[in-house]
């Protein structure tokens, strides 16, 4: 264990999933020919005015509730003033001291199943900017470029800014935090949360300190991470870089560093920026927002199960492994299917084995999602019940499952129609055993001469004679009894 502890805070920008942009009627879609998805409002033309998107506000309230934030009765939009070419009005409509939600925390879990909490400094609603492309330089960077092109298609897209407290202590925790954030927002349907498309963007503030110290070290901000994997790599690399600096007797400089995924290193972008005075003030184009407590309660009542609650249910109540639980939580349709099966069958272990085992294998082979397959949850629950009651054995169950996948319907009906019920009557099985032993005297003689592993051959033949229906355990027992 290193003598240093990393202290990490994550700042995320999440594009909200709405039909229209935050303050105008332009569609909120990804991509498109540059500057085709724009209007006077999102271009900041003289005289244009913003009108807030009620849906985005509702998304924020739901996200706030999901992170256990307070929802104040009043909120407002403020202007953050600074000049930037891809920001049409040269101010960003944002929320400063009265955001829609206050506080809150993200509950996440680690690979060993530990549930942890990271408090949120703030969540607020703002508008996205346009996107600059620098041309005329060899590497697409602004240095050396001769001109820049701006695409305003993204300008005005509703953006949730979510800043964590510096309470994460390593790359694993940081990524687990991000995964929990992502899962929660997906479960709420408020964002696509895709790092590749930029609907989730994050920066990490990283510092180190001697283990046990309460003071914060000098932090650096790492940008340009475009996947969870690159977040993990970038954080590990930065922690190592800072430790190496300290161990060489040097100091960490406060700066912004850009992560170069291809080279696996971060590069200094700019050192400690001159303190910006954003001159925040309430946006006079937008009236203060009031949120009715009744509306908050209504939204709270509609809150779906949150991923950490689902995790606790799966690993605690159902006894699933961390991997199994996570696998299901990350496949919401499959989890929904699984939950229905468990609700009917009441046997989580069997449901897990079928859903994550045979069914998922079939789904893979046939390229059809489990939840969309012909196997109704009710029928799978029936199959589990048949196995549990020892009416069929697992071999028959597997065969039935394949037939159900192909549309055979209720397994109970098949079992009854085709007389597939397991034979557990000792007298009937004993008769089959006697028949097989009589037919293979040489094998019986080998066994008795000490070659005990030939018993398997005899058991197999009994099973075959029963057309697979005999209770395998009973067959084993009777074969050994007769031979012994």
């Amino acid at each position: 264990m290193s003598e240093f502890e990393a202290v990490i805070g994550i700042e995320c920008h999440v594009e909200l999933k709405t039909d229209a942009k935050m303050f105008c009627g332009c569609p909120n879609t990804f991509g498109g020919e540059p500057n085709t998805n724009v209007c006077p409002v999102c271009l900041g033309l003289p005289g244009a005015l913003p009108v807030p998107n009620a849906r985005a506000i509702e998304h924020m309230l739901r996200a706030g509730l999901a992170f256990d934030a307070e929802i104040p009765a009043f909120s407002k939009f403020d202007r953050k003033n600074y000049f930037y070419p891809d920001m049409p009005k040269d101010y960003q409509i944002s929320q400063y001291d009265m955001p829609l939600t206050q506080g809150g925390a993200v509950r996440y879990w680690l690979a060993d199943g530990t549930l942890k909490v990271c408090r949120l400094t703030r969540i607020h609603l703002e508008e996205d900017t346009g996107k600059s492309t620098h041309a005329g330089s060899s590497d697409g960077r602004i240095a050396g470029s001769t001109f820049s092109l701006i695409d305003f298609n993204r300008a005005g897209v509703p953006l949730m800014e979510c800043v964590s407290e510096p309470e994460l202590h390593g790359a694993d925790e940081a990524v687990a935090y991000l995964e929990a954030l992502r899962r929660t927002l997906l479960a709420l349907g408020v964002s696509d949360v895709k790092m590749e498309e930029g609907s989730l963007r994050c920066d990490a503030n990283i510092s180190i300190r001697p283990r046990g110290s309460r003071e914060l070290g000098t932090k650096t901000e790492i940008k340009n991470m475009n996947s969870f994997r690159s977040v993990h790599r970038a954080i590990e690399s930065e922690i190592a870089r800072q430790i190496a600096l300290i161990e060489r007797g040097e100091r960490v400089t406060q700066e912004t560093r850009g992560w170069d995924e291809a080279r696996g290193v971060s590069v200094s972008m700019r050192s400690k920026e001159e303190a910006h005075d954003y001159r925040y003030f309430p946006d006079p184009d937008l009236t203060p927002l009031s949120v009715a407590p009744a509306r908050v309660e209504e939204l709270r009542a509609q809150m779906p199960e949150r991923p950490w609650q689902q995790f606790e249910r799966y690993t605690g109540e159902y006894g699933l492994s961390v991997t199994q639980a996570t696998q299901l939580i990350d496949a919401p349709a499959l989890a929904g299917y699984f939950d229905r099966v468990v609700a009917i069958a009441g046997n989580a272990r069997a449901a897990t084995n079928f859903v994550l085992g045979d069914l998922s294998r079939l789904a893979n082979e046939r390229s059809v999602a489990v939840a969309e397959s012909a196997v109704a949850p009710e029928h799978l629950a029936e199959l589990i019940a048949l196995v549990e009651a020892k009416q069929i054995n697992s071999k028959i169950a597997k065969e039935l499952l394949e037939r159900m996948w192909d549309g055979a319907g209720s397994p109970r009906a098949i079992v009854e129609r085709e007389g597939l019920s397991q034979t557990s009557d000792p007298a009937a099985v004993a008769a089959l055993v006697d028949g097989v032993l009589a037919a293979h005297p040489a094998v019986v003689a080998e066994y008795r001469a000490g070659k005990v592993n030939v018993a398997g051959f005899l058991v197999g033949n009994v099973m075959k004679a029963s057309r697979g229906k005999a209770d395998p355990a009973l067959v084993q027992e009777l074969v050994k009894q007769r031979l012994g």
């Binding site: 006077p40 005289g47 009005k89 925040y280």
Partner: protein, 497 residues
């Protein structure tokens, strides 16, 4: 009909509706009048000949098709800080000198839909910052009653266009008095509705929490007609009010019986000089003669109006005008990097008054000063609004001067503060968001001049009292007829209704 544009909007619309004259004929006459007097008046930055004719032909087609248009064929001047699709929209600034608006302001669109004909885009103080129109970077507008004098501002072009018969009605915008003061200077009626009554969508923002569009016209009845057409909520403006609008045209009255009118103790007109004082004293007596009961009211915080306004308005403008950066539209002065391009563009594009206000506002919002300036100003604003609320517990309307003097000569107010003082009587109402208007109330002949110049009586009511306010102003106007006492100092006589 000698001067189509000088007749009342009501009369023109009735004639066009009845087919007695076509909108196209009215429009041609208005354009001819513009051609005749515009070289001397300079009310317009852009004359919309083609757009006006096209609009007139559309109106005539609608009338033939049996449509009813309340402003059919009425010539309209549009202050050039309002967007009209396809027209140059400059805010009288070099930074927007060549900008063509791709969309139309809601208030403008509503007037065009009501049949009004856009004759031209009227001059103003740059970005509506000023009280004389002298801050226009793109042209000089002269007062039609004395071409040596300013038309007032910032809606000086709108007021002058109506006064000179170059339009029958005009749209102006009022932030601290920018409709009322030029209306007073140019012998026309100017009306600022309650904040939020008229959509600001398409109005190039100066100070968003104060800006309000309103009409300028020869008569209160015409102003009411325009107000009725433009008022009402707009889904494109989140600060517009979505409450029903009672048509003001239906509430015009001929007396003031039962109406209590407050005279503000703090607004002592004696300080304005004997002749101006006499006009206002006479005006108050005339109100009484019409049946109004005069009561004294106090606005103890009114004196803080100017200081409050000159923090809030510049603060908002410093942010509103940030977008004029040379990146997307308007003037760009190139440089080696983007920061330098911003600096050169804004240095070349903005005039001195605009720069002064951007600097004041940036300072007022800066960290460390925000609480001392912006937050305190907002608190003062609340106190001023409360003063009015209290005053309106003992009266229905308040009467006051619209400006502290008649129109002055060009370059007479060389220091900014004496110019700011012009709005002393109009700013408190703006800060409180109240509806207020200026109606001609008499004439004085300034020292060293032989030409009488008009004064305006300001009437102000509680929030949403537009019908009461316009109704009362109509009674005063009908009984006194001050506007008709003198004619503009242009060669041609203007035939007033």
């Amino acid at each position: 009909m000698s001067d189509a544009a000088a007749r009342s909007a009501t009369a023109i619309a009735a004639d066009v509706q009845a087919g007695r004259v076509s909108a196209r004929e009215i429009t041609e006459k208005a354009l001819a009048r513009v051609a005749a007097v515009e070289p001397r008046v300079g009310a317009y930055l852009t004359v919309l000949d083609a757009a006006a004719r096209a609009a007139a032909d559309r109106v005539d087609a609608c009338i033939r098709a049996g449509e009813r248009l309340p402003l059919a064929g009425v010539p309209l001047a549009i202050k050039d800080n309002m967007a009209l699709a396809g027209s140059r929209t400059t805010a009288a600034s070099k930074i927007l000198a060549d900008w063509v608006a791709p969309y139309t302001a809601t208030a403008v669109a509503r007037l065009l839909a009501a049949g009004a004909i856009p004759i031209g885009k009227a001059n103003l103080d740059e970005f509506a910052m000023g009280s004389s129109c002298e801050n226009s970077a793109l042209g000089t507008t002269r007062n039609p009653y004395d071409l040596e004098r300013v038309p007032g501002g910032s809606s000086g072009g709108s007021a002058a266009a109506v006064a000179a018969g170059e339009a029958t009605i005009a749209l102006g915008s009022d932030t601290g008095g920018s409709i009322r003061e030029p209306a007073a200077f140019c012998n026309v009626v100017g009306f600022k509705p309650t904040y939020g009554r008229v959509s600001r969508y398409g109005l190039i923002a100066f100070a968003s929490s104060l800006d309000q569009i309103g009409p300028l016209a020869h008569t209160v009845a015409d102003a009411a007609l325009v107000y009725d057409a433009i008022a009402g909520g707009d889904p494109m403006d989140a600060t517009s009010l979505d409450r029903p609008v009672e048509p003001a045209s239906a509430r015009l009255r001929d007396d003031l019986r039962g109406c209590k009118i407050g005279i503000v103790r703090q607004f002592d007109t004696q300080t304005l000089g004997d002749d101006v004082d006499a006009v206002y004293r006479r005006a108050y007596r005339d109100l009484e003669a019409l049946g109004a009961e005069l009561v004294e009211v106090t606005l103890p915080t009114a004196d803080y109006g100017l200081a409050t306004y000159y923090l809030i308005a510049p603060a908002e403008c410093s942010s509103n005008l940030a977008r004029f950066d040379g990146v997307r539209y308007g003037l760009r002065v190139d440089a080696d990097d983007v920061r330098e391009m911003y600096a050169r563009t804004r240095a070349a594009g903005f005039g001195p008054e605009v720069k002064r206000r951007i600097l004041i506002g940036t300072y007022a919002l800066s960290s460390g000063y925000y609480d001392a300036y912006y937050v305190r100003a907002q608190k003062a604003r609340t106190l001023i609004a409360r003063d009015f609320e209290r005053a309106f517990q003992s009266c229905d309307l308040i009467a006051a001067p619209a400006a502290s003097c008649p129109a002055f000569r060009f370059n007479a107010k060389s220091d900014p503060y004496s110019m700011y003082l012009m709005d002393y009587y109009t700013i408190p109402m703006s800060l409180a968001g109240l509806p207020a208007l200026s109606v001609p109330c008499g004439w004085v002949t300034p020292d060293g001049s032989t030409r009488p110049m008009p004064l305006g009586l300001q009437l102000c009511g509680p929030l949403f009292s537009e019908p009461l306010l316009l109704g009362a102003a109509h009674a005063y106007e009908s009984a006194t007829g001050h506007a008709r006492a003198h004619r503009p100092a242009l060669d041609e006589a203007v035939d007033h209704v």
